[in-house]
Assembly symmetry: C2
Homo-oligomer: 447 residues x 2
Amino acid sequence: MTAENTTYKKVGESIPQPRQVNPYGPNPADYLSNVSNFQLIESTLREGEQFANAFFTTEKKIEIAKALDDFGVDYIELTSPVASEQSRKDCESICKLGLKAKILTHIRCHMDDARVAVETGVDGVDVVIGTSQFLRQYSHGKDMQYITNSAIEVIQYVKSKGIEIRFSSEDSFRSDIVDLLNIYKTVDKIGVNRVGIADTVGCANPRQVYDLVRTLKSVVHCDIECHFHNDTGCAIANAYTALEAGARLIDVSVLGIGERNGITPLGGLMARMIAADREYVLSKYKLHKLRDIENLVSEAVQVNIPFNNPITGFCAFTHKAGIHSKAILANPSTYEILNPSDFGLTRYIHFAHRLTGWNAIKTRVEQLNLKLTDQQCKIITSKVKSLADIRPLNIDDVDSIIKDYHADINTPQIFPKSAANGTADIIDEDISIADGPAPKRAKVNGH
Amino acid sequence: MTAENTTYKKVGESIPQPRQVNPYGPNPADYLSNVSNFQLIESTLREGEQFANAFFTTEKKIEIAKALDDFGVDYIELTSPVASEQSRKDCESICKLGLKAKILTHIRCHMDDARVAVETGVDGVDVVIGTSQFLRQYSHGKDMQYITNSAIEVIQYVKSKGIEIRFSSEDSFRSDIVDLLNIYKTVDKIGVNRVGIADTVGCANPRQVYDLVRTLKSVVHCDIECHFHNDTGCAIANAYTALEAGARLIDVSVLGIGERNGITPLGGLMARMIAADREYVLSKYKLHKLRDIENLVSEAVQVNIPFNNPITGFCAFTHKAGIHSKAILANPSTYEILNPSDFGLTRYIHFAHRLTGWNAIKTRVEQLNLKLTDQQCKIITSKVKSLADIRPLNIDDVDSIIKDYHADINTPQIFPKSAANGTADIIDEDISIADGPAPKRAKVNGH
C-alpha cells in the first residue's frame, strides 16, 4: 500500500497492522494507484438494459436497484429518461426509494436530454458524446468545436441544478489524443465531478489503458471513471489497470450484461479486487450477496450463469488434478488465492476421475469415517483410476470402491472359510458404518 | 508493427502495403513484442481434462485433436501418460495420427515420468515443478537445489532423445524472483527449447506479467511460454501483455476449460489477437472453424457456450441501443472492431425494444421492401417505443406496426368512406406485399 493510498483510505477503525506481503496487492511504486480506493458505478439498469435479452419491468428494476444498494455499490446508473416514457417514470421511482447509493442517469450531450434528466430527481447526470473520427463521421456528424460548446452548455446547466455531472468521451481509444485532452481539460476547468474514458468497441488492451489514464491524470484534477466493453475479453484486466493508473471509478454490470457481449462484470471485478486488497473490498461490499444478485439478474434476462464465471461458475472452486488436490488439502492457499467462504461458498475436491491422486482419496476415506493407511489409500486410488479409464465415475462409484476395500481388509481371517455358509452377509452389514447406499462388493487385489 | 516483428514475420507472399493505423495494433515502441509472431499451445486435452466435467473417450480425444490441428494450432498438449494406463495409450494413438501440429505431453519433473513420456512418440515434453514457497512446503516438499538437480537430469535425458523440452515453474508469481531467474538461467544454458511461466492460481495482473516476462526475457535466450488461469478474469489480457513483453507461446484451451474456472480461452484470445494483427491471425488460423470446435468441446464436457463468450456468445454481434444501431448501419466499424464474417458469423441489429432508434426501424422498413420517409419512420419508432414500454416485443410485433402504418398511408382517400361496405378487406389483401403473417391492424395517429 502506498503512502498516498493510506491517506485516501477511509477505513479509520484501526491502525493498519504489518501484514504478509501479497504479490497480487497494489504495487508500492504506483503512487497514482486507486486499487485500494476505488468506487463502483453499477450500470445493470442502463448498460445492462442494452443487453439483447433485457426487458426490465418497473418492479424488476426496483428489485435489482435495492439488491445492488444492499450489496454496497457506490452509484446506480439508469437508462436515459428520454429513451421512453416508462424509462422516465422508472427513473423517478428509483430516485424516490431513498437508497444509500447515488442515482445517476446517462444522457446524450444535448440540452433537450439534460432538461428532462435533472427533473427526475437523480443525484447526478452522466453525459456522453462520441469523439472518435468514426462516431463524428457516422453517428452525430459534429466537429470538436461543436462538441466542446455543447458540453460546456450542458455541464453548466446540470451544475446549476446542484447535482453531480460527469463528462465522458465515447470510443476514447480511437479518438485523437490532442482532441481528447483538450476537451477533458476544458470540462475539468468548468468543474465536472469526473471525466470518463470509454472503450466502446471493447478492443483496448491493458498497457494502452494505463498510458491513456495516466496521461489524463496529469491533465485533470477531477476523478476519472472508466467503462470497458468485453469484446476481446479484457474488460476486467483493463479496469484493474485503469485503477493502477489513477482512475477512481469503474462501470460494471451484473454478469457484465450490456451491448454485444457486455462490459466489466461486477462479480469478476470483485474477484480481481479481492485478490489485490481483501480488506478494502470486504469493508465496502457484501460479497456473500453476489450469488443472489447474479441469480436475480440472470433470471430476469433469461441467461444461465456461465460455467466459467469467476467466483460463481459451478466449478470455480472445484479442484481435480491429483497434484492440485494434494496441495489444496494441505493448505488451500497453494492453488486458491480467492477464499470461497468470503463469497458464502465452499470448495470441492473432485476425486472421482482418472487424474485423481491418493491424497484426495485419503481425504474422502476420512470423510467416510474409515481408517486406512496411506499405502491402502494408494491401492484404492489405483483401482479408481482403472475404473475411470473405462467410464465416467460419480462419487457413489468411488465410495463403493473405498467401502468394499475397507470391508475386505477388516473382515476377520475366518471370513474366506465361512463365506460358503452365509456368514458374509452378516459381516457386510456390520461394516456398513458410513451412510449412503450399501456398497457393491469389488474384487480386491494386493494388501 | 515494429521493425523486429517485420523481420520475424513469415508472410512472404506480398510486400507490406502502407495501411491505416490500428490503435489496437502492436505498439511500435515494443521492440520485444511477439504480438505479431505468437504461437499457440492448445491444452484442451491436458489442462481441459482437469476441468470438473471432462471425461474424454479415446475417440473424442482424437476428434478434438484433429479439429484443433485443422484450425491451425501450433502444438497440442496431452495429459501425462503416467496419469492412467488409458492416458498413455491415448497419447500414443494421437502421436500416430500424423498431424501437422506438434504433440506434447505434460509431466512432473521426475525421471519416472520422463522415461514413460519419451516412449509415447511425442514431439516434445513439457516439464513442470512448483517453485513457490507454498508448493515447496505443501506439495512436493523439495528445496531449490533439489528442484534444480531434478530439472537438469530430466532435461538432459529428454534432450538425449532428440525431442523438444520445456521447463516451467508453477505458481511463478508467488515464487522468489531470484530463485526463479536462477533456475531459468540454468536450464536455458543446458539448452531447453522454452521456459514457462505459470499463473497457477489465476491472480496475476497485466503489469505484473509484463514485468516478469520482460525481466525473464533479459535472462534467457530460449522462447518463453505463458500459462494463465482465469480466476480473476484476466487470463486473456495477461496472455496479450505477456506477448507484448516478449513471450512467444500461449497456453489455451477451447472455452478455457481447465482446473477451477479454467485458463486463457482459444476463442477469446483469437478475438484479442485479431484486433491487434488481423493479417497475422488470418494467415495462421481457420477462424471460421472456431464455432464448430467450441460446440464439439462444449458438448463433450456438457456445458453451454457462455452467453457472453467472445465471438460466439449469442449476442456478441447484436447491437441494441438506438445510437449504436444508427452508427453501425452507417459504418460497422463505429461500434465493431471485430468483423463477424472473419468467424463465419453475421451481425444483428436488434430493433424490437424501447431503446430502439429510427435508423434501425428505417433499415427494417427497407428490409421489408417498403417505402417510407424518414419522418414516417420516426412516427413508427415512437409507436414501437410505446408498445415496448408495456411488454417485451418480438420482430413480428414491430413488423406488424410497420406494415399497418404503411398500409394506412397507402390506402386511397376514398377508403374511410367505403370501409362500411366491406371494401377494406379487399384493400388489406392488396397491400400485403411483404412476406410474413398478415398484419393485425393498429390504430394510427398523426400524419
